[in-house]
Symmetry: C2
Subunit: 467 residues, 2 copies
Amino acid sequence: MDRISLYWRNATAEAIGDKHGVTERELQEIAPKIKQLYQEQLNDRKAGKLRYRDLPNDSDMVDAVHREVEHFRDKCDVLVVLGIGGRALGNIALQSALNPYTYNLQSDRTRPGPQLFVLDNVDPDQIKAVVDNISPKLKKTVINVISKSGETAETASQFILFRDLLEKKLGKKYKEHILATTDPSGGTLREIATKEGYRTLDVPEGVGGRFTVLSAVGLFSAGMCGIDTDALLEGAAAMDKRLKEPDLLKNPAALIAAISYILDRKGKHISVMMPYSTSLYYLGDWFRQLWAESLGKQVDLKGKDVSAGQTPIKALGTTDQHSQVQLYREGPNDKLITFLEVERFSQKLAIPESMKDVQTLRYLAGSNFQTLINSEKLGTEYALLESKRPTMTVLFPTISPQTVGQFLYLYEVAVSFMGGLYNINTYDQPAVQLGKDATYALMGKDGYADLAKKIEPVAKRDKKYLV
Amino acid sequence: MDRISLYWRNATAEAIGDKHGVTERELQEIAPKIKQLYQEQLNDRKAGKLRYRDLPNDSDMVDAVHREVEHFRDKCDVLVVLGIGGRALGNIALQSALNPYTYNLQSDRTRPGPQLFVLDNVDPDQIKAVVDNISPKLKKTVINVISKSGETAETASQFILFRDLLEKKLGKKYKEHILATTDPSGGTLREIATKEGYRTLDVPEGVGGRFTVLSAVGLFSAGMCGIDTDALLEGAAAMDKRLKEPDLLKNPAALIAAISYILDRKGKHISVMMPYSTSLYYLGDWFRQLWAESLGKQVDLKGKDVSAGQTPIKALGTTDQHSQVQLYREGPNDKLITFLEVERFSQKLAIPESMKDVQTLRYLAGSNFQTLINSEKLGTEYALLESKRPTMTVLFPTISPQTVGQFLYLYEVAVSFMGGLYNINTYDQPAVQLGKDATYALMGKDGYADLAKKIEPVAKRDKKYLV
């Protein structure tokens, strides 16, 4: 199996100096804490928190996903996933990474699975456009609604709309077009699914949304679209083995966490993930959630409230060289940049020789796009090094289900180490609730009248500040 | 014409306190500087720097764009734009904002223009996927290559590939399928275009890439895809009039700049643009370049080198409530968040009543998605206010060419004010060059051998740091 690897020299003091790089001494100082985390939290399971680490070997889950893919595959030209946050970002990342850029534009004949729409917003124009587009194909449309509780406003409202659409068009058969991925035992969506007789998959118990890409949540749509989900899990399982390594310097997840933590304390409050690959760009959105929700926390440090959490950003090479690199090189030195580099793309894609007589373009003749994009990456890495900006690289020998599985698992464990270093609860998201409640209050849900009254003054716009 | 407006109360001390909000006194203190900038730079043209402000009234440019759209429209089912940075991000933003989410998926019959691919990367897999997809349609394919010099490695290599593809398939007729948007008088691409006999449009002189969306660069692809480019420019011209207002409190561009500048100095080093609209999401990429390249600069402050530049981020409501809001509320208070809110979408899109008997979902029955997404926005605004996080809102009454034109122009002028406040050159990007040169060196371009030698040690990976 191709192994991904981490190259971290350009984040060290040796490469860019003590002020902005990690020193050997800082790593030595943090090593005992990493070892303790490794022993007490990361390799043992405490309070059910690390249940996500079992997913690569959960054969019941795998069997269930295979069963549903098998069941739906031939009946489906269009798959619509309704979910948000951790019930969508993994699906989008897998699809973008492992299927062609033009996947949805291919004909039903050549495409290895159904068209896929992952609807993770409640924009009426967007939803209406998708509804109009798929309406002629409803007989071969499957809706995969993913929600643990079934009460998330976005997913619930979409579900009501699409269920209604199917029922109006297909009559009683509509229920054969719905797969609910939800809590195994209770909650609104489980109750509806049971009552109406939908097929179902389980949201894994004890695993937060942002850690569920390698469960039924992320794997069903991937499997439907022809992605080898067994190979994804093989990749994750192989990474799991590599991470059973107590030595900080040999454990890439621990290293990512240690470097990020040390550099955050040196003012690198922003963590940029910058793939040099369009396919891998959406791993950045998955990473954004993993990093932001897991680490963006109040930390009680000896009675004093302080805030933790690097701000994660996604960027795209080479595209953002022409947009962000001016800032990354010459603006505040407050970023740790992680490149994703692909050593071998599916094809090199030759640059023709037809312009070799144009002097300024001669150097391109006979080269190829793989060499070009990787030269651009190295050029940017060099330019950032010259400006003493810390960078790391995750090297993908190829883009495959195995390497993507390794990557996802690597960053899940890395964020667990990070949370341990900050001494926070990596697995909750308490600050999200108030906005949800405020939405309920504004939408008139029972029991939120008091909150609605508190929001009223904010809803009224003060003309003095409207220009 | 529908007017966009700026609501800024929730960025003030009145709303969130002195520590994180803008005080009246701070605005009073900055007002004279704004007035000076207004008089000396923003409303007069100095050193040709503000040439971009003429674009909305440049009738020669408009005529040329109309002429080319007229010429190509009937011959074109597929339009491929080759460009990068400011020669792509505006095109993508216009297309996403003003055409349906499913535009490229529509049939040639119902779509108001050709399929559009804006290729702003050199990923071989992505390019190959597009080439394969359009190959059967080459007879009705038009390539719009956009580069001032013609030497940008990304655009040049793509151009060579697509030119070759057309020539192989169409013989001598290939040149009728190419439109070059380039320097009016010289450079590699202009020379090739003249020699081979392509139709051309001009990249405007004296306007940096990131300010060219409202020129032939951005308008040709928009016009081809059925977007009313005259209305876009009308919107920009209307905003231009509004910004001829010397009073800071009545000038939205000056206010955006003043608030951003004051809050940057209070530690809000990150500027988040968060549309509650999927269509407007890609305005965020355009904004990222505008903000990062214009403001990410070394500032010589009394002989001491310091760095300026808020880091721009794009986020998406409601999607990122389930990904970033935990961090935005509870993590470091280092962000200014600007919401984009749409008062009236193309449709409200009713939420059916079919689940009204489910107690937890009853509140949704009979409402609509427009009300839901805007309640989510207000709910998030409220939650951030409670956490004393500064936010502003740009209100779009509707999404239309006029309102989008206003928005683009508003932020262009705002960044000009910002650059003036930081006392930097807003219009250059000196730090980008080294990475470009390094790429040339690695690709073996003549004259870069010395640099290639300097990069060599970086290119060799030190095994000690590879895990």
